[in-house]
Symmetry: C2
Subunit: 564 residues, 2 copies
């Protein structure tokens, strides 16, 4: 219907809708499609393969038109990126309810999805694309940062100072590794086979320096380690060659992981002995031989990682399936080290911690810096990793689109943060309202057996009741918009997840919303893990007053035995 156009969210404190919740939804939808934010805005693609913000341009227009006239007691329904209905609800209800990409399980395949997509009937929403709360690559850096912070807490007393992290891959997501390592105070050695990728990361300031000479790299690393100075060094090389060589030399790092694209043995991983150019030629001339070599290299790569582990290093998988490939290639001990969620993220999930994020509708970076300071004051003393992240994010991370920030907060923290922001808006300390949301990758909002719910203690990995309950309770507890998606992160068939966003516009009504939904939402994370038998989650529920009838937690005041 409409031609391609450039979208940029309005800034400032002038309301063009009938309320700030509608205004926020409209601006965040537009912000997702801002060329600074979206990977391919012409096709409405925000990130993550084909994760879209609206079904098509006509749907986008209709959504915007509808949000402009939507009353404060009405709710807009969006079905896979298309605005299908408006119903009268009430003031405390969400203004928008979204369901994206959901399929009856038997038909939940990419093939059927593509067929429906071809007919214009469905849209891939990824996680934050179709739920209008993507904030650019800040999220990727922060996830890696937070994982390494958890490693630091668990093994090194809270910091990576004087510790060496060895890893591979400086691609789309892996490129965040050097910065995440140095932000945690550590020294990183990152092996990457593609010189262009290395140069890009060095040019962007994500990586400090690079070399093709292993001895030089090791010298730099050793120096920084001894001085306990943060440093990231990229080494042009192949993990499957360099890592076994390091093992042979007895050079053992403190932490080892990997973000080469091991999930794809043909299009992704580069076998030992080949330059990138040679790899490209072999890929097309003899793909079978390519895959054979690639699998053998992954086995050698993984074997070196297991050797590091045996020599005392902390080793974990970063969700690229290197272990699976190595095992398939005949290396039986591949699963000796754990995946990152069970190893490092789950303990955070147990406290309802996850990627809390917020956006300044004013468009003014100053608003975010002010919130940074408030968060730092409120939580910085008790949380050193958080404090370091906020300081460094303020220095190092460029804003994309509307200024935004991300940091991991848990149950009892998110509502405090939300109320602080609302207070700042009310007092006029910020120039416009703040939008508060999160990734669908969160403590209690996702069922994804190959990622977020891998290896749950009770075996409940595949149970999808939880994300649905999360969406329902957030709808009942004051979210401004709520979304349920299928297939984000790991693809169609592999995950069900929910999102929520709430607006701090300084009103009393917003205060009510924030105080409630920023408890129910992380609360679901605590409950989901407590129910699965995680003791820390049960303790958090007990200490922070979450009611769990099935565990007899928090129900003492009236457990019904005295009831009528």
């Amino acid at each position: 219907m409409s031609a391609v156009r450039t979208i940029r969210a309005p800034r400032g404190s002038t309301l063009t809708c009938r309320g700030w919740q509608q205004e926020a939804a409209m601006r965040m939808l537009m912000n997702n499609l801002d060329p600074e934010v979206a990977e391919n805005p012409d096709q409405l693609i925000v990130y993550g393969g084909t994760g879209k913000a609206a079904r098509n341009w006509e749907a986008f227009e209709r959504i915007v038109e509808t949000l402009k006239v939507l009353r404060n007691d009405e709710t807009l329904l969006v079905q896979s990126g298309k605005p299908v209905a408006v119903f009268e609800t009430h003031e405390r209800a969400p203004r928008v309810l979204i369901a994206n990409s959901l399929l009856v399980p038997k038909w939940a395949t990419w093939e059927h999805f593509w067929e429906l997509e071809g007919k214009g009937l469905i849209m891939f929403g990824q996680m934050t694309a179709g739920s209008w709360i993507y904030i650019g690559s800040q999220g990727i850096i922060q996830g890696t940062y937070e994982t390494l912070a958890a490693v630091a807490r668990q093994h090194f007393g809270g910091s990576l100072e004087g510790r060496v992290v060895l890893t591979g891959g400086l691609g789309g997501m892996g490129g965040a590794q050097p910065l995440a390592i140095t932000m945690n105070g550590g020294v990183g050695l990152i092996i990457e086979v593609d010189e262009r990728r290395i140069r890009r990361r060095v040019d962007m300031g994500y990586c400090d320096r690079w070399t093709a000479d292993l001895d030089e790299a090791l010298r730099w690393v050793e120096e920084a380690r001894q001085k306990r100075e943060p440093l990231s060094v990229a080494l042009l090389g192949n993990c499957a060659e360099v890592e076994p060589e390091l093992v042979r030399r007895g050079w053992i790092p403190d932490v080892v992981t990997d973000q080469t694209s091991a999930h794809d043995p043909l299009g992704g991983y580069v076998p030992a002995g080949l330059t990138v150019a040679e790899a490209e030629r072999l890929r097309s001339s003899d793909p079978e031989e390519y895959v054979r070599r690639s699998m053998a290299s992954m086995a050698a790569h993984c074997e070196a990682m297991v050797a590091f582990q045996k020599a005392g290093a902390v080793v974990f998988d970063y969700g690229n399936n290197l272990r699976g490939q190595a095992k398939a290639a005949g290396f039986d001990e591949a699963f000796s080290y754990p995946g990152f969620v069970p190893a490092y993220i789950r303990p955070l999930f147990e406290e309802g911690k996850g990627p809390f994020r917020w956006v300044a509708l004013s468009g003014d970076p100053e608003d975010i810096y002010k919130t940074d300071r408030v968060i730092l004051e409120e939580f910085g003393r008790e949380n050193e990793g958080l404090a370091r992240w906020l300081r460094l994010a303020g220095e190092k991370i460029p804003f994309q689109g509307l200024p935004a920030r991300i940091c991991w907060l848990g149950y009892g923290e998110r509502d405090r943060a939300g109320l602080l922001f609302n207070h700042m808006v009310k007092k006029g300390e910020l120039k416009a309202p703040i939008v508060i949301g999160r990734d669908h990758l969160d403590a209690g909002s996702v069922a994804s057996p190959y990622r977020e719910t891998e290896g749950m203690r009770d075996g409940s990995d595949a149970i999808a009741d939880w994300p649905i309950l999360n969406a329902l309770i957030n709808t009942a507890a004051g979210a401004s918009w709520v979304s349920v998606h299928h297939g984000g992160g790991v693809g169609i068939g592999y995950s069900i997840h929910a999102g929520q966003v709430v607006v701090a516009d300084g009103s009393d009504e917003a205060e009510w919303r924030l105080a409630h939904v920023l408890r129910t939402d992380p609360g679901m994370g605590v409950v989901r893990h407590a129910d699965a038998g995680y003791e820390r989650a049960q303790q958090v529920a007990r200490e922070r007053g979450i009611k769990m009838p099935s565990l007899g937690i928090g129900m003492d005041a009236g457990n019904g035995r005295q009831g009528g």
Copy 2:
């Protein structure tokens, strides 16, 4: 934990919880497990294979205890029949939110489900079992009645008077057929191979008389047809023998369908030429031969149905997969006649019509009779089929557990009915509040490509965004409890569906809830069908004022072009 016990919901107007919504949820949960209602209450099984009301007895107890103390600004979360959390929400929020049997699609198989069930982690909720609004076999009779009423409307000017319906099967669900035929004024000839099944239906008063003599059966049928008197005749025989014989004789009924258990060629369908006893022996001695004969018989059976159709009869499939089996057995024309949803039910769905039901918490049948009269007055004049159903249901249908009624109402009718009931409670005309709910098999609440969403005009059969949006909007619009389930009706992997229940307790708050949720809920049915291209649904949306931005319906007053 606890021993098996007999459950019966409290009756009367004494509140034992802190509000009528909690009280209603508690009584309806208990009512689902009443031995008069449940198939196997000892195992908490309500109906439909293993459809349960609570995970186990401990969970049942905890739910009841929690409901007794739950405040009017709190919400209980139930995960597969277990009460996992209570959160503070607000007065207009649902008191209970339920998610049952949901699995990440890739793991959505009976095998994985049973594995999780074995570990005590999940429960099969069917449709109304796990959502606490099952009302006994009334629902089955009424569904069959409504299908035949739709046949009557479409083909015979609104009544089956003087019309002959030929069908097969007097089993669990099929046994409702004779009564549904005579309630529509028609003459039924029902072929059933098992004499015990026939006797049971005659003894219960569902079927008028029976014979093993085809000529006698035809004589009775002809007489009744000529006198235009309702009559149901069961014929002891096998469809695969009798129906081809009727074709040979040129005896053509007006309507033909079938409810033999054709979906199961070994355990269900009985091949031609065998008595039930002989069939049982062959089943165990030579199952392969059994299936071979069974498939051949189904082909002959289906072929006769197609012959009736060619000779002018109205023929439809009743969801037992006879067409599929006949086709597999080599009968190419099997799919000559349509399934019942696309043929008869979908036009009702287009108007948001579906199985609206209500229950008298007083326990007094008089309360239901009074509501019957009010519904009759309000809708009877414009809806002859509804009027006949209500009169006959009052006479012929025994109550099971709490007195209840079911009838199909559409968008614009359900809220009227709900408000009338609330008014009656307020005025003291009824002894206690009325609970209003529905089956998950409804216009806008289910995605099930082999049943309710078979053959959608735009091919969107498998898109499950709709039931999720239904649950979310009902949560935002005043439902007392809301549920989302997987696998009801057609089994794990094959459906996603949602339920909602709302309580008319005579309060102003209830009035608000009823006025809103009884619009959003059937409204989703209209919207889902309008979006899929059904003209009648688009017309209903236009006429009755549903707003559909994507179709430009109802948005004229402010489509945003004039907006800020």
